[in-house]
């Protein structure tokens, strides 16, 4: 009894002590525009040993030497936390002065339309960011007053890019005497040969993003820029029953019928697809550059990548953005920091660690595999070939696509039915956004 009470009092006291201390600690005043701010509160959610994590650590170091007397309080956040609460966080006094945030209408677009992000247009022209980023990279940095990406003011600055490509296991190709394809015809022929040997050539994951991205990638082979603009930026209505989307769905069904993609993959997750490739069970996957670092660390077999053969367009976009919340107390320091991350040495550091820098000088990249990754990206980016992701246009579309292509993989729906199923939510969503 006595012990019980004592414990209770101790805990309650500790609670009060702890919270008052925390309250004092977070109470640091700062100037409004913040050129004389002494603290830069910086958040991002890249892991410590990832390309971005390494490069940004270096950027922080450079920032510190160039701004003596300014303290950088960096916190590595959980992706989940930023994804769920960014709006609430930066709508308070407790938020960061600069942070990494997801690109896209539902994230950066939404917050910018609510007035929670600082307009960076002036800085972008002054510091030349607008010339350093290709048009398709700028698309995700600029948002209209309704929060729709593509045009309008700058609300974020991307440091890195990402794109969907084909990863292949060289050893498996050699062992089965199959040549690495360079054209789309060779690509399907190679898959036929694997099927003949009883190997499923493409690992897929119907329960998550990969299936939708493969569909989009296939559709893009028949697409031009106006399709991408219509689909992603709502310039004109999109007909789901015509090419390129019709072609994408039908070819996808064809892949399943021919055994390029296993029917069992309907319920698999992206992680399963990745580990199937790493462990050498699958000769190829069609997926994004975010796997690159992991394959490099963990895969024992020889592997490499090539752009999806025959496509001018690839799913892909800029990476996440640096944004400056309206509540930032050190805005000009934040701009300085962004500028440092765009410098060649930081960009090269991203590239040399297996990331895809937005303005890389490929000659600065030493590792041949990294170099190829970046050259391929530069190819896509320079021909304005980044087509974003299929689930971007309307909120909640990700789940629509997942369930649509799951039923295409397991054969419960025809391509025609799948197209119907994914067209309606798209049309409804676009109507809601554009008001037409």
């Amino acid at each position: 009894m006595g012990r019980f009470r004592k414990l209770g009092v101790a805990v309650a006291l500790a609670a009060i002590a702890g919270t008052t201390l925390a309250a004092c600690g977070s109470d640091d005043g700062g100037a409004a525009e913040g050129s004389d701010a002494k603290v830069l509160k910086l958040w991002h959610y890249e892991s410590e040993n990832s390309a971005m994590g390494i490069a940004w650590d270096k950027a922080i170091e450079i920032f510190k030497t160039e701004h003596p007397g300014v303290q950088v309080t960096f916190e590595r956040k959980a992706f989940e936390q930023i994804q769920q609460n960014a709006g609430m966080i930066i709508n308070s006094d407790e938020g960061p002065d600069i942070m990494e945030y997801n690109k896209g209408n539902a994230t950066a677009g939404l917050l910018s339309s609510q007035g929670l992000l600082t307009d960076l247009t002036e800085e972008a022209t002054k510091r030349g960011w607008d010339k350093e980023l290709s048009p398709s990279l700028q698309t995700t940095a600029r948002y209209s007053d309704k929060g729709v990406m593509g045009e309008g003011n700058w609300y974020g600055v991307p440091n890195y890019g990402e794109y969907v490509m084909v990863y292949y296991n060289k050893d498996l190709f050699d062992k089965n005497g199959i040549a690495v394809p360079t054209t789309y015809d060779e690509f399907t022929q190679a898959m036929d040969k694997f099927v003949a040997k009883g190997i499923t050539p493409l690992a897929e994951a119907g329960a998550e993003y990969p299936a939708g991205q493969l569909f989009y990638q296939l559709a893009l082979s028949k697409a031009d820029r106006s399709f991408v603009d219509n689909y992603q930026l709502y310039k004109n209505p999109v007909d789901f029953k015509a090419d390129p989307l019709k072609y994408g769905a039908e070819t996808f069904a064809d892949y399943v019928a021919k055994g390029y993609v296993s029917k069992e993959s309907a319920s698999l997750k992206a992680e399963d697809m990745g580990t199937a490739f790493i462990s050498g069970k699958a000769p190829m996957i069609v997926s994004g550059s975010w796997w690159y670092g992991r394959f490099k660390d963990e895969m024992k077999a020889n592997w490499d990548s090539f752009l999806f053969p025959g496509n001018k367009f690839s799913a892909g976009s800029s990476g996440n953005l640096w944004v400056v919340p309206t509540s930032s107390k050190a805005k000009s320091l934040a701009y300085d920091f962004i500028d440092i991350t765009m410098r060649p040495e930081i960009q090269a550091l991203i590239g040399n660690n297996g990331g895809v820098p937005v303005k890389a000088d490929a000659s600065q990249i030493t590792d041949p595999k990294n170099k190829k990754l970046i050259e391929n990206f530069n190819t896509v980016s320079s021909q304005d070939g980044l087509a974003f992701y299929p689930d971007w246009p309307v909120p909640g579309y990700y789940d629509v696509l997942v369930s649509g292509f799951q039923s295409l993989i397991n054969g419960s729906k025809t391509p025609d039915q799948v197209l119907d199923a994914i067209a309606k939510p798209y049309d409804d969503g676009v109507k809601e956004i554009t008001g037409k």
């Binding site: 500790a14 916190e75 590595r76 992706f79 936390q81 308070s92 992206a270 963990e298 996440n320």
Partner: protein, 294 residues
Amino acid sequence: MAVTTITAGRPKSPRKSSDRHRRGVSRWIILALVTIAALAMLVPFVFMLLNAFKSPGDYSTGGPLSWPSEFYTKGLSNYWHQVNFPLKLWNSLLIAGSVAVLGVVVSLLNAYALGIGRVKGRLWIVGLFLLANMLPQEALIYPLYYAAKQVGLYNTQLSVIIIFTVIQSAFGTYLLASVLSTFPKSVLEAASLDGAGKWTVLWRVVFPNLRPTLAVLLIFFFIWTWNEFLIPLVMLIDNSTQTIPVALASLQGDRLMDAPTTNAGALISLIPAVLFFIIFQRTLSRGITAGAEK
């Protein structure tokens, strides 16, 4: 202290040994079933243990079921340093401990008023508490956020402590109020005849009788609060104020996951809760069987 032993309901028979033989087969079946159930419950833990000591490359090559090719402890140390585990542990202990104690105190006071004090409309009040307990936290989160911001408690542990004290004590009040409404009237009358005031009755008569139940509530409140994710995630935005479940979530990226490190993190994060459970396990079983005395 309340009587806590349960005596077997069956009368003791002199033919005890033959009884045991007669029930031999069914006993073995039950034992086997219990063993299977126990093993089935252990399976996730075995997987966690197995993968906590596996290198990421090993995991990706061999899958989650394979035996680790080396004893890899970097996942554990990485997690420990990356999230600054001792700090998170302290935050979790502070929040869960405070909520457990405060929640029990508030529940007891509420329940005393409702169950013994017989406040008017107590059925409605208890119903309201139950409703508050059943509301999904997602529905509460925005109001809570704005309220916390207005009073300057956003991003402090105190905000989480207050919120969970209220949420947990809603359940506690509901439970204790129904327990107390069956509290023997004669005992209370005897106490007041002896000149005990309301306060004295609470602390000298009701509290000692309720102690086992309160101890169970305390443990439940602690464990429930320990495992809470959404409200701490929203309310505690600084790394220095966060709790263990939030820290665990920081291992999951946008499109990539690091299964071995997540397993290692889960393993470390589980230990305090398991220790807590082992220490208080006796109290728990005593409290649960407390009702059997009548």
